[in-house]
């Protein structure tokens, strides 16, 4: 009995030692994204090819909202994660609060080559999505709403409406409805935006909180038009629902990659970060999911054919019709104040 138990223990020890040595030999990082089909698409397009090319192991983790975990991990002084894919605002805010490593772009040539609006001292854009005006083609077989001014025009376009229960993109849409040009939005005139929102508020049936909910509203015909993320609308359309959207006056949003302060594998993390925004890997992402590459150079690689490119939010012609969200403004004191004001707007 005794021998048997010792034997078992010995095996476990040998196993554990084996694990440790192999882990020491190959460099590794822990990468975190938001899970689901989105993380699966990245694994095929970006993560596996990067791991192979760099000869490293990429351990994956996923979490819908990384922010609280980032705060807790860095706060504890011993983060487990290295690289996070999270809404760009988190990277900027984290950078300001000392939760993110400042990036040395001399070691990240792929990032350095990206336009300045696509990176920050703490982050590089990883992928793009857009908050667009979507509508039911049953209700609007022709002459569909095509701008936020149309969305606000309840006489010309009668029907039930939904907006996201969040100030991001919604304040931008309100200002565009009030006549502000997409490239002249920032700094946002918050008072003007809320005033315009008060106008449409009685006509909003649902203020949605999750992407799934926005898709369900459109799919079931619960609303006739709404603001939604382009990938959600195209997924509903693919399943046969008569819905469509326009990139006109869409609000282009992104997630970015950033590295946690004190990341356990900092050097490897920087190498990975550079590789992950490589134009070819980036070009492979939209072949697997309806999101646009974070690196605009991806469109010059020839990997994305013109028809596919035309469907993507960050394709240059589409991007030119949209407003690029300023995460720098949203993480500024004025932006944070606007975010707090949202709660009282909703409950009035």
């Amino acid at each position: 009995m005794m021998t048997k138990r010792n034997f078992g223990l010995g095996c476990a020890l040998v196993g554990a030692m084996g694990l440790t040595t192999s882990a020491d030999a190959a460099e590794q990082i822990t990468f975190v994204s938001q899970g689901g089909a989105y993380q699966q698409a990245q694994t095929v397009a970006i993560l596996d090819p990067s791991a192979k090319k760099l000869g490293i192991t990429i351990n994956q983790d996923s979490i819908p909202d990384a922010w609280p975990a980032i705060k807790t991990q860095v706060g504890s002084g011993k983060p487990i994660w290295d690289v996070v894919d999270t809404p760009t605002g988190n990277c900027l805010r984290g950078g300001e609060q000392g939760l993110m490593e400042k990036l040395d772009f001399s070691k990240i040539p792929n990032g350095a080559a990206m336009p300045e609006a696509y990176r920050s001292p703490y982050s590089v854009s990883y992928e793009f999505y857009s908050s667009v005006l979507s509508y039911s083609q049953k209700t609007f077989p022709k002459d569909a709403p095509n701008s936020w001014a149309d969305f606000w025009d309840v006489k010309k376009f009668p029907g039930r409406r939904a907006l996201r229960n969040h100030p991001f993109a919604t304040l931008e849409a309100a200002l565009m409805a009030d006549g502000v040009a997409p490239d002249k939005l920032y700094p946002l005139d918050v008072d003007r935006a809320f005033k315009k929102l008060e106008e449409i508020k009685p006509h909003i049936t649902v203020w949605w909180t999750s992407g799934a909910q926005s898709a369900q509203l459109l799919n079931d015909g619960e609303v006739d038009m709404e603001m939604a993320w382009n990938g959600r609308v195209s997924a509903v359309a693919k399943e046969g629902a008569k819905v469509a959207f326009t990139y006109n006056q869409g609000i282009l949003q992104s997630t970015s990659l950033c590295i946690l302060k004190g990341a356990p594998n900092l050097d490897t993390a920087v190498k990975f970060l550079n590789e992950a925004v490589d134009p070819v890997h980036q070009a492979n992402l939209p072949l697997n999911i309806d999101y646009g590459p974070g690196n605009p150079k991806a469109f010059e690689t020839g990997v994305i054919n013109p028809e596919r490119a035309a469907q993507l939010p960050s394709e240059p012609a589409n991007a030119s019709k949209q407003a690029l969200m300023s995460y720098a403004w949203w993480s500024s004191p004025a932006g944070e104040a606007a975010e707090k004001r949202w709660a009282s707007f909703m409950q009035k």
Binding site: D65, W67, P68, K71, R93, R160, N165, T205, V206, W207, W208, T209, Q213, Q216, D220, G221, E222, E339, K340, A343, S344, M346, Q347
Partner: protein, 270 residues
Amino acid sequence: MLALVSPALLVILALIVLPVGWLAWQSIYHDGFTVENYRRVFTEDIYWRSFALTFEISLAVTVIALLLGYPVAYLANSVPKGWSILILSLVVLPFWTSVLVRAYAWLALLQRTGVINQFLRYLDVISEPLALVHNTFGTVVATVHILLPFMVLPLYATMQKIPGDLMQAGASLGASPSLTFFRVFLPLSLPGVLAGCTMVFVLCLGFYITPELLGGGRTVMVSMLVSRNVELYNQFGAASAVAVVLLLSVLAIFFVVSRFISLDRVLGQK
């Protein structure tokens, strides 16, 4: 006895008392002691509105659940054993489905293109779909559905302990069935009423998924403020202050109720 309950006490200590205590601590301590989180809760009117709405919804849900649950419990109590088991199983059956699934099921029933609106339009009762969901109404309906068992079970347990011969005695003295019910049965079942109402009311105060999915964004209950505050203020303290105020309200309710009835009974033990 102490040795037997100590594992359970340790689990409660480790999984409930310590984390809740830690959260409560965060609400008053963030780089030094602060009352900022509580000042916000007590001065900004969105918190008042949310607390008021939460109590209104909880009250409505409790009253409706009582009106629906009492006859069910009464029926289960007065039919033969086999039937009462069937009735109680039907009451408990929804527990086997997740709250999330049930919220979506209500959506399928109540929304503009949902079963109820389509049926009413088919009958020509209405010309425009009714707004049955994405508002407080839809939230209350779905919450009643979820909490109904917490009303029926304590009611049934209390009714079971009312001796049947008391009603016979009433009848033999010439009282009509309704008089025996109102003068004998109903007063004896009141502890169950209080127990069921307390359970439903308190559970409803903390509801999150149902108002989030069926409230259309306008029905902001306190639990939703808790989660929103984590996002808005990026620190747990702002959220835990709201939670602490809610917790204290619940304890206050339990305290008041316990002056009228022993807590054992509220929890369905005796």
